[in-house]
Subunit: 209 residues, 4 copies
């Protein structure tokens, strides 16, 4: 006797997309709560307010970085879901695991920004990105093998999606490895990778990765 419940559970791509958008939206805006207006009692001139606002710049930058990373993976997940016709319970749970990793991202980013010269923080940040990549990759392979995809998902698209994840993760791993020199090199390289994926400049070499 088969387990009928598991055969009928978690089949809606729309619901999966909807809860993903919810989790991404909350995760993307959570770090804004760390931006507090300066204490009015300490500000007595335009110059003082200007300095207080400038002093918030690092936090805004961290927030921007977190937003960037989440944006990249949101686009990646969207692209994957767009090519599927239906889901099943295993695929749904893979994406719930993905969303768990998504919701940890603001914390990892914030940890790295706070301890920018510490390898532990950089490795934690990289592990979070790795986790996101691995789950997305496994989910795609699973979907392709279980024939959850739309009829028009060709071998070519399959390869494009997989090459993109592996290419990106290789660059991130190389970046993380640069922390052997120091964390600034590692972080700088990883940021360049992220900007590359967000801005998609028309550089021949990079656009193939």
């Amino acid at each position: 006797m088969l387990n009928r419940y598991n055969l009928i559970a978690g089949q809606s791509i729309e619901r999966l997309a909807a809860i993903s958008d919810g989790v991404f939206a909350v995760a993307m805006t959570l770090l804004v709560l760390d931006l507090h207006t300066p204490e009015a009692a300490h500000i007595h001139s335009e110059a003082a307010l200007w300095q207080a606002v400038v002093a918030l710049a690092p936090r805004v930058l961290v927030y921007l970085m977190s937003f960037l990373t989440l944006g990249i993976f949101w686009v990646g997940q969207q692209t994957q879901l767009n090519h599927l016709e239906r889901s099943d319970r295993n695929y749904t749970w893979l994406h719930l695991a993905f969303l768990f990793a998504v919701s940890l991202m603001p914390f990892s980013t914030s940890l790295m920004a706070e301890f920018i010269s510490y390898r532990v923080a950089l490795i934690a940040y990289w592990l979070n990105i790795l986790l996101l990549g691995v789950i997305l990759y496994v989910a795609w392979v699973y979907a392709f093998r279980t024939r959850l995809g739309k009829p028009d998902v060709s071998q070519e698209i399959d390869e494009a999606v997989r090459r993109r994840i592996i290419g990106a993760q290789s660059l991130y791993a190389f970046g993380a490895a640069l922390c052997i020199i120091n964390t600034y090199w590692a972080l700088g390289f990883m940021l360049l990778v992220q900007l590359n994926y967000a801005l998609a400049p028309r550089i021949r070499f990079l656009s193939r990765l």
Copy 2:
């Protein structure tokens, strides 16, 4: 004279799904706010940062557990809604009650994690799970009797859904009862049940429950 308003109120399955995804998404990410980066003033070496991050592990575990429980019930609710053609106001209110119980879950989980050796905390946690199960069950029975389901919802599917809820709740209740020995046995058993539903291993005995 009938109450016409009640006949036309709350009929949209799509809106019900949308607000559910919103409440689940917020509830799933709320506990992340408890993860604070360690105080920079107290950290002076890689080893110290490593220890501080490791010290956060229990909170991450609690968060994972809460995410797991909410994931299980999100899949359960989704499966139920997928089989319905329309809603009515009673069914809508049953699900609003369900969402209320959902939004309490992060608190129950956090309470249990903080007071892991206390039976009161474990019982509160179990009552929350019981409440979620009871409402889902009542909602399904109501939907089936009121013929809100799609034409292809067979007796077989009805039985599969009901058996799943009763099976799961029996296991949870048995787990909670283990707190007669102590709370660690109870909690361990309940965690195994949850992992079973999330991972759905192909174990013959378990997959029938």
Copy 3:
């Protein structure tokens, strides 16, 4: 020359429903943040934990009340949007005003619960409910006059929707007026009204309101 932009702006019922579900979902779960687990340092026995949990009961009740009120108006708004074919920019702004009032509800409820014997708090709570009702009513009348409704929206449905809002608001207003005696009578009556709309008991007299 007509203002073309205003003719093409804000026409999507789907987007209006989606942002409404988002605001309702966040507002519905915001008050949970007020539920903090008791301090572990002060708890040394099962009895102490039990008392600490019981001490949280009033907050849970406030949260339940807020959830109930928001649920009632969510069903009301859903019912209204379900009968429309499209929106326009005026209708969209009426609902944005409605959402503003929605997002104030957790604050009003919490204020009333904290100052349960004060007329000021009760009046503030009632004004919030009144505001929600007035905007919903105006939006419906506007939609009906501007022919935004679906072709099958009959005079009968129009009357049912309007009678429901006026009936409910009359009961709330009567309840609020009871604060001439004292706030407990007023609050008790308003809670009964809310339970009536949530549970919809088959009482002949009430079901006509």
Copy 4:
């Protein structure tokens, strides 16, 4: 060899709309968290509670202003997305940048309200509005040139959308420039502009902008 991944990434208008609604909903409700009920210990009469509630009025006003601004840009984004048939990855990233600016709005508004007489705060607030306008404009021009629009998007609609953004931004810029006199004039003018767009009064001159 083309980069196939970029050709297939980020094409869903529905997902873009959904994450936008999520970010807007969270941003719109974030500032409510700043409304705290007065401390019960300090309140001993109806008059004292009344004063405490009145003392919250400025915060409610700030919240209303933030809600208004976000509402205007939500309607603007919705109008733009409604006219598109599909998205591509560049358009998607333009909107993610837009959402980043959206999520900063509660902070900018709050900064301006706290430091109402400081030019730095007013300029920061205006820069946020400018950023929102510029991204929306660029996104529209990009969408029109890349033929992402629906077949029925005429030259006329293109002009109406662009004229609206440029008209609004000119008024905001003029308002911000009034801070040469003082910030109250600037702020007052900008608020009038916002009310004009929210209420859309039938004033011949304004309705053309």
